[in-house]
Symmetry: C2
Subunit: 260 residues, 2 copies
């Protein structure tokens, strides 16, 4: 019997609803304890964007937003609340596609997604204003958020771990969203296999692997969508060593992208 | 301590190089035995496209191919072997983008990918003609291949399992390939969450999840790229019930795709 390669993903149990100001590292450590787990060097922690944004207080109340003329025009075209469109444009560097019901933008962080990741599901809002229309923006700097969490976990456990902050993105050509990384700490986001020969000495067909997105997708399948009860997924058994990494590795610049 | 949600992916060990005519179900059962594992109902088996294609003998020798005038023209533009381009066009319903070094097509199966999945790495060719330039096409009908394998495994073990046949695809907007499903048997390829309210009774932002692609990506991260030593990945703990499913669920038709 040969010891097999094994990847084990575990959603941390009993995670409470995250509130602005919450300490994510403490919540992760509580969740690990609740699951009877410990962190080891080489482990990866995958975190749903939504709880990072909530902890960082990235809430906006649409009643506080005054839409600009461009937002008013675009809102008319896509059939969305002009205040929401104003918030989306504020998070975007460019509108990539728009049509009724759909607004695809390049987020200021550089990736392409619907509505710049601005979310109005599962958002309770500030105390005393719960009945108002709140939306949640992505973290200001997800790489920094990932680093902050990873360093706090390392300080608490002495384990050298990777951290991915993930969101769900739609795709060109294929139906359904999949988890993708929007923040990366200490993880080989893009595996570069160029120069590795195949079994017969020929160049490989596949030369760069979006490993952070593959692990994001794996973790996303465990998190579910209808609640935020499983926002933290622990990953053990990544068959590659950790290294410094960032979201930027995963972004195809507009100038070399044939599908903008 | 709460029992956590856990997804466990295990690459079957000791899988030999697959040859035309090989019985994939027998190889999977051997691999499970080598790993000390058994199949249970609800498990999923993820299989690299390459070994399915090899077992099905989907090999073409470029020395046997005569390129057509359109293939000659396109080969000139993209800088590829005209015989390879002829094979790619034969597997494609449409050229989506072409430029030097790149040929993105709609495969006859309906998905968009580079080179129609035609691969010339790790292809040994037929005995006696190993020195010639061989390429490997995708399976003729990956859903049928997945069904064939799934039914054989069920017959051998009485376990009701899902099967995904996966390839690695590049993406618009993001760097690096990720595993995606190209053949589906008895698996909820697209999860439809429309109509599920969020925690506060609001509609969900994410309504359809490409679950087969998320599990494909997860398994792909374990398979590696530089060899075909880990083409079978066993998945336990999928947090959704199995059901009938197919590749078609994952395909966005050209008429509603803004990125062709």
């Amino acid at each position: 019997m040969t010891a097999p390669h094994q990847l084990i993903l575990t959603a941390l149990p009993d995670v409470p609803l995250v509130q602005p100001g919450d300490d994510l590292a403490a919540l992760v450590l509580d969740g690990l304890r609740a699951g009877g787990m410990t962190l080891q060097s080489g482990d990866v922690l995958v975190v749903a964007q939504k709880v990072v944004s909530k902890a960082e207080g990235r809430l906006v109340c649409l009643n506080d937003v005054v839409p600009s003329p461009p937002a008013l025009n675009l809102a008319e075209e896509v059939g969305k609340d002009p205040r929401l469109v104003e918030v989306i444009l504020g998070e975007s560097s460019e509108v990539v596609r728009s049509r009724p019901g759909l607004l695809v933008v390049e987020h200021r962080l550089g990736f392409v997604s619907a509505n710049a990741g601005v979310d109005h599901s599962n958002v309770a809002g500030e105390p005393g204003r719960e009945g108002e229309p709140w939306v949640l923006l992505l973290p200001e700097d997800p790489d920094a958020s990932a680093r902050h969490l990873g360093e706090a976990l390392e300080a608490a456990t002495a384990a050298v771990v990777g951290v991915l902050i993930i969101d769900s993105h739609g795709r060109a050509w294929r139906m359904g969203t999949v988890g993708v990384a929007i923040g990366v700490f200490q993880f080989p986001a893009l595996l570069d296999l160029r120069g590795h020969p195949d079994l017969f000495g020929e160049p490989l067909r596949i030369t760069q692997v979006g490993l952070a997105d593959e692990i994001a997708a794996a973790a996303s399948s465990l998190m579910g969508q209808a609640d935020e009860g499983r926002p933290f997924v622990h990953v053990r058994g990544l068959p590659y060593p950790l290294r410094e990494g960032s979201l930027a590795e995963l972004l195809r610049s507009k100038s070399v992208d044939l599908f903008r």
